[in-house]
């Protein structure tokens, strides 16, 4: 018979892996608190389950002693009443514990940084809001945050309901059209944490991942500085040709590359696509090859997503991939 201790054992094994998208690989202040609560509740519940199983086995296998029914019934009444009382105590305890954790995780008063998260079918847009509007910048599918700081995420949806979930950092929160939710993240340790949409949102719900990169404040500032800049102008011939293809073909109608004529807003901002680790919302590693494969036939790799198949020659493909790659 399986038992919950296997779960606990496995839990510790899993938490050993780093970088995984796991509840037990907790690296954010919320996730750490949640992990403690989860383990405590799992422990209590496992104990309850074992006690019930002991009762079951003893009920089935006990030696039937000669005893008057009335005495047995009275004994049983006492035991059952006790068990019900214990149930009440256990669930009250768990309710209080969970309420306690909820309160401890209440919203940060004074966040260092506010990011607007806009989820759409099937990618994430991040707008780093700055009071000086010129300093505001937009990126996609990759969120950089400084460690040890409260980061406030304003969660919005562009179409259907999605759910923002980076288990290593915090519990999930839905993004609902017509409403705005707040989620506070605070990464305690640097690392790359994977997250994924957790509310069914249509065809490519499975491929709607994001990465949170928690880094030291200096690293973060350097990255943010880079993101605020306009896109680089390619110098290499192939990339120059790629830029021309990008502007001449359908690409520019949906994507923005700041500093060029491309200002479409339907697809992700590509100004610094070359600096991201993955493309297509975590679908593929960002290499020249995968960029070319993706552009060549996005519907094959992520059927139903909103990027159309644009017929391109192989030269054009190579040039586009080269251009994307230099957009660091």
């Amino acid at each position: 018979m399986k038992c919950n201790s296997i779960l606990l054992l496995l839990a510790f094994l899993i938490s050993g892996c780093s970088g995984a998208q796991s509840v037990l690989n907790a690296n954010g202040h919320a996730a750490i608190a949640l992990k403690e609560l989860i383990l405590a509740i799992v422990l209590v519940c496992s104990a309850v389950w074992f006690l019930v199983m002991i009762a079951l086995v003893s009920a089935l296998a006990r030696r039937r002693i000669r005893e008057s029914d009335a005495i047995s019934e009275r004994k049983a009444t006492v035991v059952v009443s006790g068990a019900v009382g214990a149930t009440v105590l256990v669930v009250s305890g768990l309710t209080i514990a969970s309420f306690h954790t909820t309160r401890a995780l209440s919203e940060a008063e004074d966040p260092e940084l506010t990011i607007v998260v806009r989820a759409q079918q099937w990618w994430w847009q991040f707008t780093y809001v700055d009071p000086r509007s010129t300093e505001t910048f937009v990126t996609a599918n990759e969120l950089h945050i400084p460690i040890g700081k409260d980061v406030r995420l304003r969660l919005e949806s562009g179409d259907v309901i999605h759910s923002f979930w980076v288990p290593s950092l915090a519990g999930k929160q839905d993004l609902i059209p017509g409403r705005e939710n707040i989620l506070t993240l605070r990464a305690e340790r640097p690392g790359v944490y994977r997250g994924q949409c957790a509310e069914f949102c249509g065809l490519q719900h499975s491929h709607m991942a994001l990465f949170v990169i928690a880094e030291g404040v200096a690293d973060y500032e350097r990255w943010a500085e880079g993101q605020r800049r306009m896109s680089v102008d390619p110098s290499e011939a192939e990339a120059v040709a790629g830029k021309a293809v990008f502007m001449a073909r359908q690409c520019a109608a949906c994507h923005t590359i700041r500093g060029t004529g491309a200002s479409g807003t339907t697809g992700p901002d590509l100004t610094h696509i070359g600096s991201r680790r993955t493309i297509a919302a975590g679908l593929l590693e960002n290499t020249r090859g995968s960029l070319a494969a993706w552009i060549a036939d996005p519907q094959k790799l992520k059927p139903g997503n909103n990027m159309p198949l644009v017929p391109l020659t192989s030269d054009e493909l190579r040039q586009l991939a080269a251009y994307m790659e230099v957009l660091k």
């Binding site: 796991s22 509840v23 509740i41 669930v91 994924q196 249509g202 719900h205």
Partner: protein
């Protein structure tokens, strides 16, 4: 009618047993042939159809589960494309909830409640026939659309806006919503029948404290259906209205709200779990008592626990919405109420354990399934306590942890008792025993296969695997467990295959059962197996909670019922004192036509709102045909 009146009424008084049986059989049997089969209102025949239909849907839904497990066995598998996968998991969930679990529990009620309360037919037997045709057509609607690649693809709770007018092109979501209307209509009809049968048709002497626990659980279930199902009918109708004629219920830009759908859906959706679980609890109570060879321990606490579950069921729908951003205080209230339901659940478990402890358990297949139920359902209940906690839920909501949790509750908590109940009542329904050997194999494989399949899903959930993904990427550490789960599912499937082989084989050539093969205590075992069309030769008089265990000089019965018309005893609600010799309607084809007319209207209204107007006319005609007195003896008074 006038001729009928002239003839003096024939009562069972002083009739010889065999003569009495001949008269009763003539009065109550359906006419032979296809026509008679369509027109029959015998609760046992209809229940059998319901059960077979529900199990066919179980097989279909199970095949979909297998398809999903093949797709998920490997990362980035291409066995199914995402569109088909979405249709499959939606159809799987909708089939299992609406076309298997709820109907099969109601079917058991339709079969067992009239027998257990000692009456000749269910109340409103024509409504009963109607409800069957309705759910059959509703199920066909879903499955025909599935066969045509137009099945709903929005999940079994069809959250707007994904299922709404803007993001749900085509008629897929409408088909889902209308399929819901079909199943709810049928469920509501059956609920009314159960309530009235239990209230008014109990055998004389079966006062409230002598009602069998299964009947209590079905009664509470029926009340939950009555209170909860209007919510989902409202939800599905407004969804269709939003999609078809542009009402703005779920459009935030015009004062509507996407969360309104979730509130209304879960106001039904959570009680739905108890609609499925409570009948199972009744089955467990019955099986435990019979095979412990003693009356159930804690009859009154169990009844109270059923009722408390039924009431609390309406106070915890928000725990499905812990991550949508509701106010903290409200969420904490729903944590407390969700935790509180563990108390009546605990009472039930402890009473069953005490009964087993006090009795002398006989390890037959039904009892094995009940033991399997206790083992798995306690896990499901405890994971339920876990997800009732707001912070815990913030991590596991919409992950495979939840998938594991509700399969433990629904399969462990309802399907295991149901399979036990099938083994237990199969002899009553067919007159033949199922095989103990195959039964043990089926139990072993299903129990093992189930746990091996679903327990690892808890871990996958904690590892971050969201539900409803058609695939996952190779770099994620989920592949091993997924393959393991997919292989384990084969064990589970093989268990079900053995169960179905056993059932089919035993139906044809099982060992004859006799009226009471288990030496049980409740009234259904007081008549032949399978019961004759009239259920009981003479209506029993109940003098104890287990009439068959306490009878001294044979079964106490009544006399004086008329046998040349369909007649049964109506009794008072509390004491079950006889009040009248009420007639029970004859067979009629009108419920069938009414169901066809209703179906045409409902399906037509997927496409045009005018179907509601024009479709109502045939419905009115068929209903008038249904209720217009035909001048039979049943109409005399």
């Amino acid at each position: 009618m006038i001729e009928d009146r002239k003839r003096p009424p024939l009562t069972d008084d002083g009739l010889d047993d065999s003569v009495l049986e001949r008269h009763l059989s003539q009065t109550w049997s359906a006419s032979p042939g296809f026509w008679g089969a369509l027109a029959t209102v015998d609760h046992k025949v209809i229940a059998r159809r319901y059960i077979v239909t529900a199990f066919v849907f179980l097989i279909l839904g199970g095949l979909l589960a297998v398809a999903m497990r093949i797709q998920l066995a490997w990362p980035e598998a291409r066995f199914l494309d995402p569109d088909r996968y979405n249709q499959i998991f939606t159809t799987h969930g909708s089939t299992m909830m609406f076309l298997f679990a709820v109907p099969v529990m109601e079917a058991m009620a339709i079969y067992l409640v009239p027998l257990m309360v000692g009456t000749r037919n269910i109340a409103f037997p024509r409504l009963n026939a109607f409800s069957y045709w309705i759910i059959l057509i509703g199920g066909l609607l879903l499955w025909i659309s599935f066969a045509l690649d137009a099945a709903p693809d929005v999940g079994w709770f069809a959250y707007v806006p994904l299922s709404g007018p803007e993001y749900g092109p085509g008629k897929r979501a409408d088909i889902w919503a209308q399929m819901i209307t079909f199943t709810e209509l049928s469920a509501l009809a059956v609920a009314v029948e159960i309530v009235v049968t239990v209230f008014k048709q109990r055998a004389p002497g079966m006062s409230l404290d002598r009602i069998p626990l299964l009947v209590w659980s079905m009664l509470v279930m029926a009340f939950i259906v009555i209170m909860a199902m209007p919510a989902i009918m409202f939800a599905s109708s407004t969804l269709i209205l939003d999609r078809l004629v542009e009402t703005q219920f779920y459009n935030p830009a015009e004062g509507g709200d996407a969360l309104l759908w979730q509130h209304v859906f879960w106001f039904f959706g959570h009680p739905e779990v108890y609609i499925i679980f409570l009948p199972a609890a009744g089955m467990v109570s019955t099986i435990v008592a019979t095979f412990s060879r003693r009356p159930i321990f804690g009859y009154l606490p169990l009844v109270m626990a059923f009722i408390a579950t039924g009431i609390l069921a309406f106070g915890l729908w928000v725990h499905h919405m812990f991550v949508v951003g509701l106010p903290r205080l409200g969420e904490s209230f729903f944590t407390a109420s969700s935790m509180a339901i563990a108390v009546p659940a605990g009472i039930q478990i402890f009473c069953w354990l005490a009964t087993l402890w006090l009795g002398r358990p006989v390890f037959t297949t039904p009892l094995l399934f009940v033991i399997g139920f206790i083992v798995t359902f306690v896990i499901g209940g405890l994971t339920g306590v876990m997800v009732a906690s707001v912070p815990f839920d913030a991590q596991v909501h919409d992950t495979y942890f939840v998938v594991a949790h509700f399969h433990y509750v629904l399969v462990g908590g309802a399907v295991f008792p149901l399979l036990g109940a099938i083994y237990y009542w199969f002899p009553k329904m067919t007159g033949r025993m199922m095989s103990e050997t195959l039964g043990r194999w089926a139990f072993g494989l299903i129990f093992l296969g189930f746990n091996l399949t679903f327990f690892p899903m808890h871990i996958l959930g904690l590892q971050g695997m969201p539900r409803r993904v058609y695939t996952y990427q190779p770099e994620l550490p989920w592949a091993g467990l997924n393959l393991f789960i997919s292989l384990s599912a084969l064990v589970l499937v093989s268990g079900f295959v053995i169960f179905f082989i056993d059932a089919l084989r035993s139906w044809r050539s099982g060992k004859p059962a006799g009226p009471d093969p288990w030496s049980a205590g409740t009234l259904e075992w007081a008549t032949a197996s399978p019961p004759p069309a009239y259920n009981f030769r003479r209506i029993p008089v109940v003098e104890a909670r287990e009439p068959l265990w306490s009878r001294s000089e044979g079964l106490a019965v009544t006399k004086g019922l008329q046998v040349d018309r369909r007649e049964l005893i109506v009794s008072s609600v509390v004491e079950a004192l006889p009040e009248a010799r009420e007639s029970s309607p004859r067979d009629s084809i009108w419920p069938f036509w009414a169901a066809i007319a209703t179906s045409l209207m409902l399906i037509g209204s997927i496409f045009t709102p005018w179907a509601v107007v024009w479709g109502s006319i045939p419905i009115a005609v068929t209903l008038i045909g249904w209720f217009w007195p035909k001048g039979t003896v049943e109409d005399t008074s």
